[in-house]
Symmetry: D2
Subunit: 485 residues, 4 copies
C-alpha cells in the first residue's frame, strides 16, 4: 500500500472530519464541494498516475527507509538526480491539472527540510528529534499519505518580529508544555491543500531570536485534529462555481486552489510528533532548507503554467484566424525566452546542488532564487502577452446558459465564431482557459508572486550571494587598474 | 434639462425595455440587477456630479449648437483646452468610480468623429449627412442623453477582410435599402454601457475597400430598438455578486463593467439617423477620428486606475505595518514613473493636437499611440508591483459571511489583523479592492489592453509615424558621414 | 551686431588667451587644435545658421531688454512658446552637428536661472543683484556672446556636504571679500564649451546650509580671466584625431566634445559681475531653476542624437543589404517608441510650464524629470539596437590609410563591400558614424547619463512629486473600499 | 613540450612573418606594436598560467590522442565535466586579462567542431577526413599550438546567399583543385587572434545549398602562409595607444583586441590540411557544432567581463565616497541578477549537454542560446548601471601627462580627488578601467553583441526550439479546455 490508489486517497479524506468553514458555514462533505472537489481531484490525479507504469520513474522512487517503492513526493532527496526528477514531476503534472497539488507538492519540502534540520539539531544538541521524525516519515511513506506543509504565519504587524507583536499569537507558538506533549496556538495563512491532506507538517516561518523559544516549534498534525479550524479562501473566480456551468470554468476539473487559513486553537501535539520545541537557533536553518526546496518546486510549477499559457495563446491565435503569423511567433518567442530563463537557472540550481549534513540535497541558493524571481516576471509578462494575443473575449464571453438559450444560442454561435471551421464553443472554452490562466479567473498570478517566498525574499538572497563574492571582484579590478600588484 | 439629474437619467433607463440576456435568461429590471446596477450607478454619479457647481468647469461646457450649457461628454471639442478638460474629466472621475462609464465616455469619441467625418463627406461628395448629424447632436445635447459608441465588429476570421468572410454578417452591414431608411444586420462585440445608454452611435470598425460599400454604415439607434439583442458579458468576478456581500466586492458600488454584445437582427434605421451609407472611402477616416479621440480618453481612464492602484498599494503597506519604507517607496516610484510616462505623452498629444476640417480638434497621432501603448505595460507592471506589495491575501481573503460567523468571526478578526490599530475589516476591504483593481476580480487588465484598440494597433501607428520621418533622418546621417553634401 | 557672424565669433575666440592644458602642455591656438576645432566649428555653425533667414524663427528672438533681435540661446524665456522653440532648436541643431554646443546651449539655463533667482533675492532681501544681472545680460545680448554655464563642482567625498569636506575647496567658494569685488577658489568639472565661450556664468551646484555662505556664489567671468586654468578632457576617441584621417572620425567636422575642467585659482571677480554672494538660502532655488531648464534642453539634445541614431541604423541596414525588412523595422520602432516616450514627456513639461515670480517660464518638474530619465535608458537601448543592426565592423573597420594603400586598398574595397551598388567607403563611413554615436568613439552615452543631473537626481525628483499627491490617492482608495465616507 | 612556456609561445610568434597591415603600412615586429602586444601578452598569460600547478586542473587536460597532458583549449570535450571546466577557464581568465584570448579560446570550438563534423562525414560518405584531422590535432596538442578559428565571411550583400552574390568571393571558396591540394580565395572578417596564432582553422559560416560546393571548405593554415594578408582593426580606443601613457589605457597590459581581417589571396592548402572539400550538405552541421561551443565560451567570457564590471563599479563607489550604500547595492544587485540569469542558463546548457556521434559533447542548444542572448542585454544594462554609478569622469578624465605637469599636476591631484584617503591617481585609473570596460574605450559592447553570433541568431534558435514543443503544449491546452479527451 506504499502507493495508494486514487480511491484509497479519496476514502481516506472521506473518513476525515476537519472543521472547515466557507461563506460563514461549516462544510460537511468536502469532496462534493464545488471549490474543494477540484483540488481533491488534482491530488487524486497524482495518485492515479503514480500507479501507472508510464509514470513510475517520474512519480515514484525507491526508499531506503521502507526498502520499497514510495511516492516521489514523500521521498528523501539523496542526489541531484532526485532533485531533477522531482523538478520534472512538478512541471509536467501541471500540464495535466493546471492548478495546485499543494497537498503532495509541499510534502517534499516539509519532509526533507525537517529531516535535515532534525539531523543537525541532534548532532549539535544531542536531542532525539531525528529518530522521532524518521519514524513519522516511515509511516507517511508506508501509508502513502498526503502531507501538507504549513509555514506562513499570519504575521500581524510586519514591522515587528514574532516576539515583538502586541498579539503574541500572530506567530504560531507553544502555549503549554505537558508531560505527554505540547499545546500550540496561532494560525498559518493560505495553506495549499491543508484540508484535503491527511497530515500537516507545521514549521516556523522565520529565523528567531534566542528569546523567541516558544515560536521555535515544528510538528506533524492530522488535518482534522481537535482545535484545528480551517477557513476557506474565497477568490473571485471561486464564486463562478456556484452560478455557472462546466464550460464557464476554464479549467473545470482541477481549477480551484482550495487553500485554507489554518487556525490552531489550542491544539495538543503528542511528543512523538514534535520535531522542534524551543531550539530557536535552528529555526533559521529549517526555514532555509524548506525555502530552497519549495522555491525549486514552485519554480517548476510556474514553468508548467507558462507552458500551458503558450499552448493556449497559440491555440487561440489559430481560432482567431491568425495562426502562427510572424507577429504571433515573435510574441510567443519572447514569452518562451522569459520563461526558459527561469528554467535554465532552476536547472543550474540542481546541477550545483549541495549535500546537507543529513544527506539531503539542496538546490544552489543563488540560482534557485534567480529562477524564482525571474519566473514571477515571466508570469506577469506572459499574462500580458497572452491577453494581448487572445483579445477582449477573455473577459466578455457569455455563459454556457446563454449558448443553450433557444433564441440567442444560435446567434451567439454565429457571431462569436472565429475561423469558420472551428466550433464557436471551442473558441469560448479556450478564452475561458486563458481567463483562468491569466488570473482573471484564478489565483495564479498572485500565488506565483508569493508562493514559496515573496520577490523581496529572493532579491535579498541574491544580494547576499553577491556580497559573498564582491570583495574578490573588487580586488581583481584593482589589480587590473594597476593599483594592486 | 440640458444637464439632467441622476434621477432623470435613471428614469429614462427605466422607461427603456432593451432585450437583454444574461445566464441564458432575459432580464427585466436592469437597474436592480447585481451586474448592471454598478455601471448604472457609475453613470448616475457622472450625472450627479455634473449638476454640482464644483464640477461645472470639468464636466460641462458651453455648446455653440444649443447656445447653452451641455455635458462635456457630448460636447464638440473645438480647441486644445476642450481636449485637456475632457482628459482630466476621465482621469479624475475614475478616482470616484474606479470602473467604467462607457455610456458617457464613448459619447465624446462617437459624436465628435461622426461630426468630423460627415463634414468631410459632405464637402467632398455634396451629401447632406452633416446637417442630419447636427440635428441628432442637438437632440442629444438638449436632452443630455447617454450615448454609447459601438465600433468593434465581431470580425469572424481575423485573417480576412469584411468582404472576404465566409459569414458576411461578421461585420455589421446594410442588408436592405428602403425609401424610409435602411435595415442592418451584424453584431458589435463587448460594447461598454450599450444597454444602459439611451442611444447608441454605430460606426464601422476598419478602413474598407471600394467594393465593401455595405459595410460603410454609420447611424444612431436607441438601445432598445426592435431587433437589437444585448447579451451580457460574464467575467469571473461578476459571479461573486450572486453569492457574496458588499464587503466582498472590492468596489461594491461601481465595480462591474456591464458591457454587452449587441446583436443587430435586421434592425431598421430611418434616414434621419443614418450618417454614412455606402461611402466606403470615408470609413477609414471615421475610424481614425474615433480611435484618436477614444485612445486619449481611454489613456486618461487607465491613468486614473493606476492612481487608485498606487493609493491602494500605499494603504495596504500601511496596514501591513511596513508603511512607506524605502523599499515600498521605490516600488511605488517605479509604478509612478511607468504611469506618468503615459500621462506625459497623452498631454503632448493634446499640446500638439490638430484641427480637422470640421473644426474638431484631434490629439496628435504619434503621442497618443505611444501613451496608450505605454499605459498597457504600466497597468500590468502596476498589477505585479501592487500584488507584490499587498501579499497573498489578495487572493485568499475569506468572505464577509465568515467574519459574521459566531465562532470563527472573532478568530479571523484576531488572526488576519495587520497593524494593531487598524481594524481587520479595513485590511480585508483593501485586499478586495486590490483584487478588483489588479484584475484578479475584474476586467481591468484585459480591458486596458484592448479597449480603444489593441497594442498592435498602436505599434503600427507608431511605426507609420516613423516611416514618415525616417527618410529625413537617413539624409541627415549621410550628410554627417560625409557621403552627401 | 546683436547677431554675430561666424567669423566674428571666431575672431572673438582668437583674441582670447585662456590658459588651457592638454596632454600636459599648454595649448596656444585653440582653433587649430584637433580636439577643440570641432566644438568651435559646432558653435560657429550655430552663429552661421542664426544669421540665415530660414532659421530666424528658430534661432533668434525679440528681446525686451535690447528692443531688438537676439540669439534664442541668450533670450529670457517669457512664455511656453519660448520654451517650445528653444526645445526644437536644441533637437534640430543636433541633426546638423551631432555633438555638443554647450557654449551656447547652456547659456539659456545659466542666464534664465540667474535672472529668476536674482529677482527672487532682491524681492525678499532688498538686494540689488537683479539690476546688476540685467545689465550683464544686455551686454551679452547686444554683443551676442557665447556664454558657458559652470555648475558642477568637483565635490570631493560625495558623502559629505560642501562645508563638511576635508578639502574646503572641493566646492568653489569665496576666499576673500574686497572693496572692489571677491576672490574665489575651487574647480568646476567637465564644463562643456567653457574654453571656447566668451563668458562663463558660474553657479553653485547644490542647496546649501545657512553656515555654508562662502559656497553661495554666482558670478560671470571671462573664460580667459587671470587665475582660470582649463584642463582638457581626454576621452579615448579624442586620441584618434592625432593618428587618423577625416574618414576615420565618424563625425569629423564637429564630433569632439571639448569640455574642460575649470580651475579657479584665486580668481578676482568685480562686484558688477557678482550675482549672489553669501545668500545660501537661495542656492537651492537657483540650482533648481537651472536644473529644470537644462534638463529640458539636454533632453532635446539627446532626442536629436537618437534621431541620428535611427537614421544611421536604417542606412547601414540598407548598405548591408537588409534594408527595411520587417525585423529591422521592428527594432527601429522599438527604438523610436523608447525615444519618443521621452519627447512626449518633455513636450508635456512645456505644456504645463509655470511662470516664476520673475516671469521666466520653467518646465513642469515631474514631466521633465521623467523625460530626462527615460531619455537615458533610450540612449543605451538605442546603442544596443543600433550596434545589433550594424554588425561588428562598428569596431573593426580598418583606417583611411589602409584604403589608400596600393596593395590592400583594392582588396579592402572588394571584401568590405556590402550591397554591390554602394561604395565600400560609404559603408565604412557609416560604421564610423555609428561607432561615434554609440559611444564606442565618443562621450555620448555617459554624457547622456550625467549631463544636467544623474539619473538618481531624476528618480528623487519623481519620488518627491509622488509624495505630494499620494495622500489624496490613499484617501480615494479608502473611500472606494468603503472605509471612509 | 605539450605545455609550452610563455617564452616558447613568444618565440614561435617571433619566427612567423605574417603579412600584416595597420594604418596603411606593413608592420614588422608584431610583438612590439602597441595594439598587438596586449593580445599577445594575454595569450602569453594563458601559457604562463597553464604551466603553474594551481591552474593545472583548470587549464590542462589529459589527451587520449597524445596520452599526455595538453592545454584545455585544444582538448577534445568528451564529457560534461570537460565543458564545465572549459567554461570556468574562460570566465576566470577574463578576471586576469579583461580582454580577448581568441587565439586560444576559439581553438576549442574550431577543433572540436571539425573533429565532430569530419567524423560524421566519414561515417556517411566514407571519406577520410577524420583521420587526417586527428593527425593535425595531435600535432597541435603535442606542440601546444595557438590556433585561431576563422568562420565569419565578409558576406557582401546580406540578402543574398553565398552562391547568389555578384562578387563570388564574398564568401571564401575553392578556386582551384589540384593534385597536391586546393587554392582558396575570399576573406574572413574580424578574426580574433588570427595574426598572433600559430595556426588558423578555417570553417564555412553558414549552411549551404547543394550547388554551393565551392564554399564548403574547411582547412588549417599557418597564419603567415603565402597569400594570407592580415589587415588590423582600428577601433577608436586603439588610437590612444599612440598618444597616451600606461595610466591612460584602463587595461594597459592586455586591453587591445587585436583582431584582423584575414584575406585569402589565392592561398594554397595541401590535402593533408583539408578537412572538408565540397561536401555542402555538412556545412550546416559544422557551423552548428562550432556555434554551440563558441556561444558557451563566449558567454563565459562575458560573464567574466561583468564580474570585473561589478568589481569596478563597487570600487569607484568607494572612491567617490558612497561605498555600498543601499542605492549602490541595489544597482549592483540588479546587474548581478541580469548577469547570473545568463550564467544559470549556460550551466543548464552544460548540464543538459548531448554527446555527438563522434563523442564530442555539445551544450544544449536552447539554454546556450538563451544564455548568450541574455548576456548581451546584461552587458549593455551593466554598462549603463556602471556609468551611472561612476560619474562623468569616465569620459572627461585628463591624461597621465597632465598629472605630471609641474603647474597643473598638483591642482588636478587636489581637485579630482574623491574620498580623502584615496590617492587621486587610483580614482582616475579606476575611471579609465570603467571607460575601457563599458566600451567607451574598447570593443567590448559590440563584440559582446556579435561575437559567436548576432542576437538574431539566438532568437531564431530559441524560436525553433519552441516550435519543437509547441504542438504538445497546444494539445495539453485543448485537453484542459475540454475540447479533446
Amino acid at each position: 500500500m506504499a502507493i495508494r490508489t486514487k480511491e484509497q486517497y479519496y476514502e481516506s479524506v472521506r473518513r476525515q472530519a476537519p472543521e472547515l468553514y466557507s461563506f460563514g458555514e461549516r462544510l460537511g462533505d468536502i469532496g462534493a464541494h464545488p471549490c474543494f472537489k477540484p483540488p481533491l481531484d488534482a491530488i487524486g490525479l497524482v495518485y492515479e498516475l503514480s500507479s501507472q507504469q508510464d509514470y513510475e520513474n517520474l512519480l515514484t522512487a525507491q526508499s531506503p527507509f521502507t526498502g520499497g517503492k514510495v511516492s516521489r513526493f514523500v521521498h528523501i532527496l539523496s542526489d541531484r538526480e532526485d532533485l531533477a526528477r522531482r523538478f520534472r514531476a512538478s512541471r509536467y503534472l501541471v500540464h495535466k491539472h493546471g492548478a495546485c497539488i499543494g497537498a503532495r507538492c509541499v510534502s517534499t519540502g516539509a519532509l526533507n527540510s525537517t529531516y535535515a534540520a532534525t539531523f543537525d539539531m541532534d548532532r549539535k544538541l544531542g536531542t532525539n528529534y531525528h529518530a522521532r521524525f524518521v519514524s513519522f516519515l516511515k509511516q507517511v511513506q508506508e501509508n502513502d499519505l498526503a502531507v501538507a506543509g504549513a509555514m506562513m504565519d499570519v504575521k500581524g504587524d510586519r514591522s515587528k518580529s514574532p516576539g515583538g507583536q502586541l498579539e503574541p499569537d500572530s506567530y504560531l507558538r507553544i502555549v503549554e508544555r505537558r508531560n505527554d506533549g505540547i499545546v500550540v496556538r496561532g494560525a498559518k495563512a493560505s495553506i495549499s491543500g491543508a484540508v484535503i491532506a491527511n497530515e500537516i507538517v507545521v514549521l516556523p516561518c522565520t529565523a528567531l531570536k534566542p528569546e523567541e523559544k516558544d515560536y521555535a516549534v515544528c510538528f506533524a498534525v492530522r488535518s482534522d485534529a481537535p482545535g484545528i479550524i480551517h477557513v476557506a479562501e474565497a477568490p473571485g473566480p471561486n464564486a463562478r462555481r456556484f452560478v455557472g456551468e462546466e464550460m464557464d470554468y476554464g479549467n473545470a476539473r482541477y481549477g480551484a486552489h482550495g487553500s485554507t487559513h489554518v487556525i490552531f486553537d489550542n491544539v495538543f501535539i503528542p511528543w512523538d510528533r514534535v520535531f522542534m520545541c524551543g531550539e530557536s537557533e535552528f529555526a533559521g536553518a529549517l526555514v532555509n532548507y524548506f525555502a530552497l526546496l519549495q522555491r525549486l518546486f514552485s519554480t517548476a510549477c510556474k514553468i508548467g503554467h507558462r507552458d500551458l499559457l503558450m499552448g493556449a495563446a497559440a491555440v487561440i491565435a489559430d481560432y482567431n484566424g491568425v495562426g502562427l503569423t510572424r507577429q504571433i511567433r515573435e510574441k510567443l518567442t519572447e514569452l518562451y525566452f522569459q520563461s526558459e530563463l527561469s528554467t535554465g537557472c532552476a536547472l543550474a540550481s540542481i546541477y550545483q546542488a549541495q549535500k546537507s549534513p543529513s544527506g539531503v540535497f539542496l538546490p544552489d541558493s543563488l540560482y534557485i532564487n534567480i529562477a524564482k524571481l525571474q519566473g514571477v516576471s515571466a508570469i506577469w509578462d506572459g499574462n500580458y502577452i497572452t491577453s494581448d494575443i487572445a483579445g477582449g473575449l477573455v473577459c466578455t464571453s457569455p455563459t454556457a446558459k446563454d449558448f443553450k438559450n433557444e433564441k440567442i444560442g444560435k446567434l451567439l454561435d454565429k457571431y462569436l465564431r472565429g475561423r469558420a471551421d472551428i466550433p464557436t464553443e471551442y473558441r469560448i472554452r479556450m478564452m475561458r482557459l486563458i481567463e483562468y490562466l491569466t488570473g482573471q479567473s484564478s489565483v495564479i498570478p498572485v500565488e506565483s508572486t508569493h508562493g514559496a517566498g515573496s520577490p523581496q525574499a529572493q532579491r535579498m538572497a541574491i544580494q547576499q550571494a553577491l556580497m559573498g563574492v564582491l570583495d574578490q571582484y573588487k580586488k581583481d579590478a584593482r589589480i587590473m587598474a594597476g593599483i594592486e600588484a
